[in-house]
Amino acid sequence: SQTIHQWPATLVQPVGSPLSLECTVEGTSNPNLYWYRQAAGRGLQLLFYSVGIGQISSEVPQNLSASRPQDRQFILSSKKLLLSDSGFYLCAWSVQAITDTQYFGPGTRLTVL
């Protein structure tokens, strides 16, 4: 069966510090991968998605970036965090079809102070 991991689970970082969040998927090959941000426990905002290694699409202009160095690894990064980057970050995966379900990881709670 497929599983998706995210780490760390929680993170407290000062403003201006760098960020690296990691997501890995097991039990499937060539998945679509997604990064979402959830602010204030409500709606989800799609940040990035990837259909393959090295292929990243950005949905929202911001100081975050994403990379996919391996087939089942997706990394969210920032060089300098802002207060507004605080939130709950969720990684998801799906099979390569628009009707397929997206399955979510456990999330990372980021607090920028």
Partner: protein, 113 residues
């Protein structure tokens, strides 16, 4: 622009009573509709989806949803609510024109004993 609306921020029901969580959508092309549930500080769990076929879709934990094309709705229902159903519920939609999943703002379901 494509959108998903969940008109109720919170729904309160007594344990054992039927529950309904409302969702309406606006997408171009054939809609693909999903329901997810989120428990505090956790990722989203998939409940059910409508792609095509029977308008009544059955999913996990006794939940079901009815697709109504004329009313562009996809309401989530359960015949008998449990206290453990208390959580945040998200409706989401994509379409044959775009594979991106758009989420509603979420509805908090509170089931009281």
């Amino acid at each position: 622009a494509q959108s998903v609306a969940q008109p109720e921020d919170q729904v309160n029901v007594a344990e054992g009573n039927p529950l309904t969580v409302k969702c309406t959508y606006s997408v171009s092309g054939n809609p693909y509709l999903f329901w997810y549930v989120q428990y505090p500080n956790r990722g989203l769990q998939f409940l059910l989806k409508y792609i095509t076929g029977d308008n009544l879709v059955k999913g996990s934990y006794g939940f079901e949803a009815e697709f109504n094309k004329s009313q562009t709705s996809f309401h989530l229902k359960k015949p008998s609510a449990l206290v453990s159903d208390s959580a945040l519920y998200f409706c989401a939609a994509s379409s044959s024109n775009t594979g991106k999943l758009i989420f509603g703002q979420g509805t908090t379901l509170q089931v009281k004993p």
